[in-house]
């Protein structure tokens, strides 16, 4: 697999959220606003890219890998937990509003199955550069997924789109034009499941359509 395919597989073909359905709990909880999703994406990107790189560096050193193998899961957890703690401290210091908004879901990145999954399934068996690219693709795929959910939820639930801090798009005029109120349910937990389900259904429909088209083309050509 070349670097381009390695990067893009995490965004579309093997999207951790929409295809593998991994890391759903924090994804559904933090997507009440676009800003939260963006903050979570940055945190996960930092942790996933660096944990993949560090774990690959450790496991590509034959001598070190032999010694680490029996305790590899604790080693992964120590590395991941360290990176998450760094994210937590930096967020607390420099983006306190985001830190308080994401709350308990920042430390919970440690147990996000995407990160541990990529460490065990990819980084431990591949070269550092490939692992770094895989981490970046997966984190971006995860980020795009949660940001798309948050756009729907925040717009439908509040009629706004909070980009960062005070930078907020007020889209209530659309609701005023339609003479309806924003549907508050979408920023509640039930709205998270509903939005996620609808997006997943749309993606599955598009993927099936694409598959059918390819099958037809093969049939016609064959």
């Amino acid at each position: 697999m070349n670097n381009k395919d390695n990067f893009f597989k995490g965004i579309i073909k093997e999207n951790p959220l929409f295809v593998s359905l991994l890391g759903m709990c924090p994804s559904l909880a933090v997507t009440t606003s676009f800003e939260n999703a963006l903050g979570m994406t940055m945190g996960v990107f930092f942790v996933l890219v660096l944990s993949n790189l560090l774990i690959s560096l450790i496991m590509n050193n034959k001598k070190l890998a032999e010694m680490v193998k029996p305790v590899r899961i604790p080693v992964y957890i120590v590395v991941i937990a360290t990176l998450v703690t760094i994210v937590e401290m930096v967020m607390h210091a420099f983006t306190p509003a985001l830190y308080f908004s994401l709350g308990v879901f920042i430390p919970l990145i440690v147990v996000n199955c995407i990160i541990l999954g990529r460490a065990e399934a990819f980084a431990s068996d591949n070269k550092p550069v490939a692992s770094l690219i895989d981490g970046a693709g997966m984190a971006l795929g995860y980020g795009l997924a949660i940001m798309s959910i948050s756009i729907f939820r925040e717009f439908l639930g509040k009629g706004t789109l909070t980009i960062w801090g005070d930078l907020q798009l007020n889209l209530k005029f659309i609701f005023d034009f339609l003479k309806i109120e924003p549907i508050a349910m979408f920023v509640q937990p039930v709205g998270a499941f509903l939005t996620f389900g609808l997006i997943l259904a749309a993606i599955t429909a598009i993927a099936n359509n694409h598959k059918n088209k390819l099958a037809k083309e093969v049939k016609n050509n064959g």
Binding site: K69, V71, V78, F94, P96, V104
Partner: protein, 178 residues
């Protein structure tokens, strides 16, 4: 073969130590900024409780579950008008306690209270921290309004009030060492 476990353990210990050193370096740079952020939140809350310009304010470091205690004295006198406590109690999140500021006047009435730090669940515990818990006198929590479904966070907030109630009389009587 026998030593493999020991070697692996030592490698794990070494990686742990390296990570620990890295965290202490990051902490060295972020801790002062975090303190600044937390102080800014606390002073913004104090501004909501009282007009700060009207008082001489001194700070005392609390022990145990108490953080900084702010003593408000009438300007130019030694009379304590109010005490604002920074107090912590265990909520739902294991990693961080719920931290509150509770302002109590010298007649034991509760001027105001505010949750200044928490990591409770977004959409659940985190959303009730701005609630009115119906506490007007610090030594009477009989009317305390818990929020159903968010018991642990409610209990943490009640614990904060109880802790303050247990020491306020002694503190107003001069028990605080400034």
């Amino acid at each position: 073969m026998k030593n493999n476990g020991l070697v692996s353990g030592l490698v794990l210990l070494t990686i742990g130590l390296v990570c620990g050193i890295l965290l202490s370096v990051v902490n060295y740079f972020t801790a002062p900024k975090i303190k600044e952020v937390e102080d800014a939140i606390k002073y913004a809350a104090l501004e909501e409780f009282y007009t700060l310009a009207d008082y001489d304010i001194s700070e005392v470091s609390g022990e145990g579950d108490f953080g900084t205690i702010f003593i408000f004295k009438e300007k130019g006198t030694e009379t304590i008008d109010a005490i604002v406590y920074t107090v912590r109690a265990q909520g739902y999140s294991d990693s961080t306690k719920v931290e509150m500021l509770i302002a109590v006047n010298s007649d034991l009435t509760v001027q105001d209270y505010k949750v200044v730090s928490q990591q409770e669940t977004t959409g659940f515990g985190a959303d009730i921290v701005d609630n009115d818990f119906n506490v007007s006198v610090i030594d009477d929590l009989s009317g305390f309004d818990s929020v159903s479904g968010v018991t642990k966070t409610s209990n943490a907030i009640k614990t904060c009030f109880t802790l303050v109630g247990e020491r306020i009389a002694s503190d107003l009587g001069g028990g605080l060492n400034e």
